[in-house]
């Protein structure tokens, strides 16, 4: 397994080169010259030249590409064009608010969805199964922006149950700020999650070992929890773990609606001020997180299913 992990870690290198290349093509080749944009209409030729020099934009393209690759390996993304802050420092500050929102919401929604999926699998084909499935599909068909607008308006503005927006980093004060966006997160996740987990569980439920378990007199609940769930773990792990990098990126829309100063908010501000280095940094970091967590999924497989051998 160690050799497998080392090989996968080495495979990260060409992928990081690839990710850097896509980001380089987008921001350094297609995007054109950002200097006039940053300096405004009245910039002199000299000013534009100086700025390009300073940002490393008058280097040959290959050298600019190597700059992007280097930043991916050293995590040195330079400074934001808009705020002049060190980008890694900005990200460090944004991580806490993002994680206080996304981690509890993610954990609650995952556990709740698995439980609900077990319930609908238990009552498969009956009224309760059909109702929950329909609610899931219907819930998924509504725009996430509409959910956010409505929940914020109704529960925070109309009823006054939650803070409308803002954030305080101290525990437990932050709970009053992240509760409502957290609830919206859970509501948004339930639809797709329950549907996915239900399919996975039903794939197992017609297997021979389930019939054997029933035949030897085990109750349906024991069969579901001890046998079916255990065997459904592989697709569940893949589905759950691969979402974790996106928690780090933060809930982009939720953070901006509720003015939570997290990573999603930072990304959106960067978007609005054409702050290329920040967006590049976020894209590189979230990609690296994605690659690491997909490796973690494979390692977890061996724990969930001893038959899986990583070579």
């Amino acid at each position: 397994m160690t050799t497998y992990i080392i090989r996968r870690l080495l495979y990260m290198i060409p992928v990081i080169f690839g990710v850097s290349f896509i980001i380089f093509v987008l921001f350094n080749v297609v995007a054109g010259d950002p200097a006039p944009l940053l300096l405004g209409k009245h910039a002199t030729v000299q000013q534009i030249h100086d700025l390009r020099e300073q940002l490393g934009l008058n280097k040959p393209l290959f050298a600019q590409y190597m700059d992007v690759v280097k930043s991916a390996f050293t995590f040195d993304f330079g400074r934001s064009w808009a705020t002049r802050q060190d980008i890694i420092e900005m990200i460090r500050q944004g991580a806490w608010p993002s994680l206080t929102l996304t981690i509890p919401a993610f954990m609650i929604s995952t556990i709740l969805s698995i439980l609900l999926a077990l319930v609908v699998a238990f009552y498969r084909g009956k009224g309760i199964d059909l109702t929950i499935r329909f609610l899931c599909i219907a819930g998924q068909s509504i725009s996430s922006v509409a959910y956010i607008l409505f929940f914020q308006y109704f529960f925070a503005y109309k009823l006054g149950w939650f803070e409308i927006s803002g954030y305080e980093p101290e525990f437990p004060v932050f709970l009053s700020y992240v509760a409502l966006p957290g609830i919206i997160w859970i509501v948004l996740s339930l639809g797709p999650d329950v549907r996915f987990f239900r399919t996975v569980i039903l794939d197992e439920i017609y297997q021979d070992y389930v019939r054997t378990a029933r035949a030897k007199g085990l109750g349906e609940i024991t069969v579901l929890l001890k046998h079916v769930l255990r065997n459904a773990m592989i697709p569940i792990i893949t589905y759950v773990v691969i979402q974790i990098p996106f928690l780090i990126l933060g809930a982009l829309l939720l953070e901006s609606f509720f003015s939570i100063p997290g990573l999603g908010g930072i990304t959106l501000n960067a978007l609005n001020s054409s702050d290329f280095p920040v967006i590049k940094a976020m894209a590189v970091l979230s990609s690296i997180a994605y690659i690491l967590f997909s490796l973690l999924t494979d390692v977890l497989y061996t724990l969930a299913d001893p038959r899986v051998k990583l070579k």
């Binding site: 060409p14 992928v15 690839g18 990710v19 290349f21 896509i22 980001i23 987008l26 921001f27 297609v30 995007a31 599909i137 219907a138 998924q140 068909s141 509504i142 725009s143 996430s144 922006v145 509409a146 607008l149 409505f150 308006y153 503005y157 990098p245 996106f246 990126l249 982009l252 829309l253 990304t267 959106l268 978007l271 609005n272 054409s274 967006i279 976020m282 894209a283 979230s286 990609s287 994605y290 690659i291």
Partner: protein
């Protein structure tokens, strides 16, 4: 041999699809939306959304079923015209994403070896960047507007399908019918495009229905981010407008656009599920 047995897979799938009442209703809904989108494109027979017809923010009433907006324009007419953007975003992004996905996936799955290594690397690289980051980056760079939305959603949409087709083609290329095609002298091109691809078409159809609803939902998010369509009513910009309106008690723009979108995305969802069931060759004749 009864008539049932001689039916082709497609005829059989179609008859199973229309027997499913919900799928049939969904198909009708999708076709009605498509019809409205065509009418809106040729500008014929639909209510006028451009001119200011009344004072601002009239509540829904007998004349304006969904009230009026800030400029006194008919919200119902805007919802109707928004169909055009939604359906065209779904159509154009499918036309970009699906050929790319099928081609890349088929080549990788069929040839294997170093071609597969390179394409798999490309797919891994592409899927490592979170979709939302790519969407934001592409629209930021290409500028606001419909073309950027098309491109951004089209370029990000092919990855899942490519991976799916790659796996399926890998399975098919060792089947007997492909060996038979080799034996009668069929070349790579013939085997891949004439023999194997028709057998994975059902994945393409299911994916198109998925791509449509993803595109329609993403248009709303991009419009909220200020990157979406300009100068034409879209459900995304209408929902975005509602941010300022809700506090004033103006709910009809949000409600109208959300409901119009809900209905068609729900229809695509149900249709997608039904297609998956009816196109599954294992269920043939059931």
């Amino acid at each position: 041999m009864s008539a049932q047995d001689t039916k082709s897979l497609w005829a059989d799938a179609f008859s199973r699809l229309v027997r499913d009442r919900w799928a049939l209703i969904s198909l009708v809904i999708v076709l009605v939306y498509a019809g409205i989108a065509v009418l809106a494109t040729i500008g014929w027979g639909l209510p006028d959304w451009k001119t200011s017809q009344a004072s601002e923010y009239l509540a829904p009433n007998g004349q304006f079923w969904l009230g009026t907006d800030l400029f006194g324009r008919d919200v119902f007419a805007k919802v109707i015209h928004g169909t055009k953007i939604a359906m065209s975003v779904g159509l154009v992004t499918s036309l970009i994403a699906i050929p790319i996905g099928v081609f890349i996936g088929a080549i990788a799955g069929y040839f294997g070896g170093w071609i597969d290594d390179i394409i798999s690397w490309f797919i891994t690289t592409f899927s490592s960047i979170p979709n939302i980051m790519l969407l934001i980056s592409i629209t930021l760079i290409m500028g606001k507007g419909l073309v950027s939305v098309y491109l951004a959603l089209g370029i990000t949409g092919w990855v899942g399908l490519a991976r799916l087709i790659r796996g399926e083609v890998m399975k098919h290329k060792e089947r007997e019918y492909v060996h038979a095609a080799s034996a009668i002298g069929g070349g790579h091109f013939r085997k891949l495009f004439i023999h194997i691809l028709p057998n994975v078409t059902h994945l393409v159809i299911i994916n198109t229905s998925l791509q449509f609803q993803t595109a329609i939902k993403s248009e709303v998010i991009l419009s909220y981010l200020g990157l979406g369509v300009q100068g034409e009513p879209s459900w995304g910009t209408m929902i975005d407008d509602a941010r300022q309106e809700l506090a004033r008690g103006v709910w009809w723009q949000l409600a109208g656009a959300t409901f119009a979108m809900f209905l068609v995305v729900l229809a695509f969802n149900i249709l997608g599920d039904a297609l998956r069931d009816s196109l599954d060759p294992k269920l043939k004749g059931k």
